[in-house]
Subunit: 409 residues, 2 copies
């Protein structure tokens, strides 16, 4: 949680952590600053153990900055225009400004740097800073990183936000169900008063519901049918008309507009009667979700749940990624990922031996097994978001029906 | 332009440029890859002068990758799971994968790194890479950087995209005008059939028009009245009811959904009759736009136009940022910025002596002078996007009326 940051800084003997805010969205800055972050431009947030954080921000954003609880200064207070002129390059200017600021704040020793910036530019900025301020060392982060570790355990407000976004997803699926039930089959294809019902139509309706509810989809979404449903990240083809008996994978991962919390949910549906093979895959994937969620307990490693699902799928004759990371049919991905201010956070539920993440109270993450057979036009994924409560019990934050078959009129 | 990348690599004697794609939006990756980029996850794009670019991507995104013209490989082809396991940390795994890839592609010498990643993590990844692959050097970029230099000159398709987004902005302002004209004053405040007309209402209507047209506002927008209009980046207060005679600064900067091109336009309007002082400020800011745009010519430095506007404002008794970077009243910011796949690109039209940017054919940028007196409840900004055509003539891509006063019914 946010209050853990100070303890983590102390434990790791860090003199400071500096979050650099460029123009790109910066979830860690948003985490440390709160919602006021969305109205702040470029700047620097310096966190020192036991001290009030210092925010250096643009003068034009002084109203947004005034809403934060931090000690504050503006670029102009440090004579930035002169620094920029003297240094010439943005790399030199940033390094000199950082040097000036950190010296003023009395920071020396190990400093952790975070923020979302251009790789090359920030590399050379830190190299230059080491030259300008030899008293600091660019600290290596742990894995998970310090801020990811804090973000790993969500407080009640964060869980409530993820749940609320999930409730809007429920509405989106209900609308899709309504559209399908309101259509009729012409041959094998679905039609209604507006014409052929297409993948694009479902996507548009979903987008509209999210828009009305104040959500965004910065990473898009997946509404993919048949063979496309069999390739996990194929986003689907808007021109496809919904066809009876084909799987449609609908994976939605919207976020509160302006940089808030994500939800991430997948259902696989089918217009009318599903073929036997599809029903079996769906039932097995459903079983995998249930088994994994039932087994979840505090202290267990995220990896064990991937193992459990691989065990189940392999026992039923499916190949899995733990047998071969290059497979394209069977169970081809990890079981899940933390979710919060980013769509992929910690803990990780992948099967890599390098994955040391554990289930902790306050964790919020997805459980999303799937089975994929693109060569046979088949793909099934089911994904829920779960929350590990402080008492260790698991609650599912996603409340979307699991039914595979939806009958048109 | 995109085709310049190869020449730039050669001129700078770079063995390669590597664009690292993480989970954050990455405009340079989008520039190099095209619209297919929005359906690609993490990966690496390696550009070598005279060779076909190589894209390393996730297996689940193979359908999107197949739409690119690049030489391709997947994580699995390089045994990434084993690498991840052996290296333990993500930093080590990324460095080892990069080493393997670059060695396979025969890259040694100066390599430019770009991409949008966490500062600390990417710093240590590149440090580790230097250790794993001593034959490469992490090249320092120029200013503007190589990719920003290429992006500085837009082709016809890019200009058309910026213009099309501008046309939708025109629609948004027309809707705002329609709302104001459809209201009536009760005392000094505006009301219509839906109730008091608020700042929030204008913002919502604008958002809806953008949504319907397939645009997003990842950086939000500004609809700010009175004193708030006097602080350039104050986004405005949704609860404020529109009041006769107060300036309302409306700054819109939407982008094509899924990571396309931006437009950026500002108008200052006023319900009913504007006080004399506001009309004078507005007329002077309008004059500054006209003077700057009329003077624009190929080869001139962006800085000269800021000087020109400062000259004009100072001659009329206003203080400017070139006199004091910390001022909060008068002309408090730079004249403009390039715009494209990011809302702030090159060329820069600020007044810093360090600003060496020049106006070139193909440049697309904003011209946005403003005058701010928050202590008197006043702020005026007018912003257009202009394009320098190949023949050196200037065309304004923004077509929104400049009128200050809008009379309610």
């Amino acid at each position: 949680m946010k209050r853990d940051i100070d303890t983590l800084l102390t434990e790791r003997r860090l003199a400071a952590a500096v979050i650099i805010k460029g123009e790109h969205p910066n979830p860690t800055f948003r985490y440390a600053v709160g919602p006021a972050a969305q109205h702040l431009g470029t700047g620097y947030l310096v966190l020192r153990p036991g001290s009030k954080p210092h925010l250096l921000h643009g003068g034009m954003e002084r109203d947004a900055a005034a809403q934060t609880p931090f000690e504050r200064s503006e670029y102009g207070d440090w004579g930035y225009a002169k620094i920029r002129e003297k240094e010439g390059s943005p790399v030199g200017a940033s390094a000199r400004l950082l040097q000036t600021l950190l010296q003023h704040l009395g920071v020396s020793g190990d400093v952790l740097f975070s923020g979302v910036l251009d790789v090359g530019q920030s590399y050379h900025t830190l190299e230059r800073l080491r030259e300008y301020l030899p008293g600091i060392r660019i600290a290596a982060d742990t894995d998970p990183g310090l801020f990811h570790l804090a973000r790993l355990t969500k407080d009640d407000e964060e869980v409530a936000a993820a749940r609320a976004v999930g409730d809007i997803c429920t509405r989106a699926y209900a609308r899709i169900e309504e559209i399908i039930r309101g259509g009729r089959l012409e041959g094998k294809r679905l039609k209604d008063a507006e014409g052929w019902v297409t993948i694009g139509r479902l996507r548009r309706e979903t987008r509209r519901i999210f828009f009305e509810a104040g959500l965004e989809e910065p990473h898009g979404n997946i509404v993919a049918m048949g063979r496309d449903a069999g390739v996990p990240h194929n986003v689907g083809n808007d021109a496809d008309v919904l066809e009876e008996g084909k799987p449609i994978v609908i994976d939605l991962f919207p976020v509160e507009a302006g940089g808030g919390y994500y939800h991430d949910v997948t259902r696989t549906i089918c217009v009318g009667r599903a073929p036997e093979e599809l029903r079996e895959l769906h039932s097995l994937v459903r079983e995998a979700v249930d088994k994994a969620v039932e087994s979840l307990h505090v202290g267990a490693s995220g990896r064990t749940y991937q193992e459990l699902v691989c065990d189940l799928f392999e026992a039923r004759g499916h190949r899995t990624i733990r047998q071969d990371e290059r497979i394209e049919e069977g169970y081809v991905h990890g079981l899940g990922h933390g979710i919060g201010l980013e769509v992929h956070e910690r803990p990780n539920l992948s099967g890599s031996a390098a994955n040391q993440d554990r289930i902790e109270p306050g964790s919020v993450f997805t459980v999303e097994p799937g089975l994929y057979y693109p060569s046979r036009g088949l793909g099934v994924r089911i994904e829920d978001v779960v929350h590990v409560k402080q008492d260790g019990t698991i609650e599912t934050l996603t409340h979307v029906p699991y039914e595979l078959e939806i009958a048109p009129a």
